[in-house]
């Protein structure tokens, strides 16, 4: 088999299944990827599987020509120079501010201390949101289980991504602000976008033709 024309970075995680379905519909061969849970590189199919938050890194460096990842990741990785080509529509969720149910912890902190403390996996998104809404925020970065932070006093509130809001609810948190929606996006390496323009445009046209 000849080398594939394009290399695609596919996110393992919440977007994995729908991404592979999309690639199937585009007639890329994902059988190997589906059959090998631990393998990361599928040279024949032109697919590398990586963490969703690493997709911009692989694509920016040109290790993959294209990648699929959430808008939430792109909003956080503004340092990565990748082109955002298509809103793929799947993987819908919302970036929200959440705090302990029934308490005005943000208002209280702002009034008494002049700033609010926010725990998040998305420090840039959180800082930008509070700056845009004119409130001083101290952003604490955590790597996981963000819901815990307001419960044990690490932070007044959290900024996190939620699909259904269930995890928040189960931890006694409520959504108090919505920052914005997020869906999966197709991104491209800037140089590949020019040097492989025809191949990329063809793929984009086929994606738009799917619906």
């Amino acid at each position: 088999m000849s080398a594939p024309l394009l290399t695609v970075a596919v996110p393992r995680g919440a977007l994995f299944a729908e991404t592979l379905d999309l690639l199937d519909r585009l007639e890329l061969d994902t059988a190997d990827v589906r059959a090998n849970d631990r393998r990361l590189w599928f040279a024949d199919a032109g697919i590398v599987t990586v963490r969703p938050s690493d997709v911009p890194t692989y694509v920016e460096h040109g290790a993959a020509d294209l990648g699929i990842t959430g808008k939430d990741v792109l909003a956080e990785r503004t340092d990565a120079d990748v082109y955002e080509l298509v809103d793929l529509g799947f993987g819908f969720c919302r970036m929200v501010v959440a705090a302990r149910e029934g308490e005005d912890s943000i208002g209280e902190s702002l009034r008494r201390l002049g700033r609010v403390r926010i725990a998040t996996k998305y420090p840039r998104t959180a800082s930008a949101w509070f700056a845009r809404t004119g409130r001083q925020a101290e952003v604490v970065e955590v790597k996981g289980s963000v819901e815990l932070a307001p419960l044990c006093g690490l932070a007044d509130a959290i900024v996190d991504l939620t699909a259904t809001g269930r995890t928040l609810e189960e931890n006694g948190l409520e959504i108090i602000e919505e920052i914005g929606p997020s869906t999966a996006r197709l991104v491209a390496n800037p140089v590949a976008h020019k040097l492989k323009a025809a191949e990329i445009d063809d793929l984009v046209a086929r994606i738009r033709g799917l619906e």
């Binding site: 694509v59 920016e60 460096h61 040109g62 290790a63 340092d79 990565a80 120079d81 082109y83 955002e84 080509l85 298509v86 809103d87 996006r185 390496n189 800037p190 140089v191 590949a192 976008h193 020019k194 040097l195 323009a197 025809a198 445009d201």
Partner: protein, 319 residues
């Protein structure tokens, strides 16, 4: 014990230095043989000089005071200092002027891939030759220089920094809506661009032109597809490049914008498929030298020598 150096700077040791020297000598002799005389300018300029060239100081990030309290800045590119030289020291020399340079420039921008804060630029400036004639010479010479450097698959992306603005003019897009659109195109957030254009309530034809034209990339066929007079200058450039046998390496990219504010027409970027980022760039800047008091048209190209070296190494590995 660790004695760090500032982020974005680096030491070069003999093995690498030998390769860098060989690379820069190759570029220098290519430029020299084409009639481009080498110049040196100070690393430090008065900040006001950089601001004369570009309202934002061309992204200069490091400033200091001298003993008289004057504000100095580390140059962020070589084009503005050379514009100053052409208007002052070379003020009596008849155009066209052909100049080349090798020197370090400094930027304090957010660090991205392969982006150093101190980086070696090698480039050319062609002053006094207007339009496509000047641009074709600069592009062809850049291709030759990279051939000489041993790259085999390099490409020059060519766009027009004024094209999108002209499209916005034609579509009567209000001034206050433009910043975001240009921001989206500049970052190639094509999803965001399409969404914002859709909010403007334009006719379908105008809307499609604003969204689709900037996404056209490819050979001369792109200029055909673009239609109309909007890309006449690029068509002429393509003809001149073809006459020189330099058109095959050119990719027209109608969405290409360059960050610096002094470009007034066609803009360029240099790529090699072995690396994921541009190796350099340039364009036409017909008003810059006039800001220093000598109205002369010009265009130029700057290569990031460190990145060209990375591309050389990557290409060798692939061979």
């Amino acid at each position: 014990m660790s004695h760090p150096i500032p982020p974005g700077t680096r030491d070069v040791l003999p093995d690498e230095m030998l390769e860098l020297r060989e690379l820069t000598e190759g570029l220098r002799s290519t430029f020299g043989n084409a009639g481009y005389g080498e110049v040196w300018t100070p690393t430090l300029e008065y900040e006001e000089t950089l601001r004369t060239g570009d309202a934002g100081g061309a992204g200069a990030g490091y400033r200091l005071f001298d003993e008289k309290g004057e504000v100095l800045a580390l140059r962020s590119d070589m084009t503005i200092p050379i514009a100053r030289v052409v208007a002052t020291r070379l003020g009596e020399t008849e155009p066209p002027l052909r100049l080349c340079y090798f020197g370090h420039a400094y930027r304090a921008a957010e660090r991205r891939t392969a982006e150093l804060r101190e980086f070696l630029q090698g480039g050319i400036e062609l002053i006094g030759l207007p339009g496509a004639q000047g641009e074709a010479e600069v592009i062809a010479l850049t291709e030759d220089a990279l051939d000489r450097a041993g790259l085999r698959r390099h490409r020059v992306g060519v766009g027009d920094g004024t094209l999108f603005d002209r499209l916005l003019d034609d579509a009567d897009v209000p001034e206050e809506a433009r910043g975001e659109l240009v921001g989206c195109l500049s970052a190639r957030d094509l999803v965001g661009l399409e969404r914002r254009v859709d909010l403007l309530g334009l006719s379908a034809a105008t809307r499609n032109r604003l969204v689709e034209l900037p996404s056209l990339r490819g050979g001369a066929e792109v200029l055909e597809r673009a239609g109309g007079e909007a890309v006449d200058n690029l068509r002429e450039l393509h003809e001149l490049l073809a006459e020189r046998g330099a058109a095959d390496r050119v990719i027209f990219d109608l969405g290409l914008l360059r960050q610096l504010g002094y470009y007034t027409g066609p803009v360029f970027e240099v790529y090699d498929p072995a690396v994921g980022f541009a190796l350099g760039g340039g364009g036409r800047y017909d008003e810059l030298i006039g800001r220093f008091g000598r109205p002369l048209v010009a265009c130029g190209m700057a290569l990031d020598v460190g990145r060209v070296h990375l591309a050389q190494a990557a290409e060798e590995r692939l061979r």
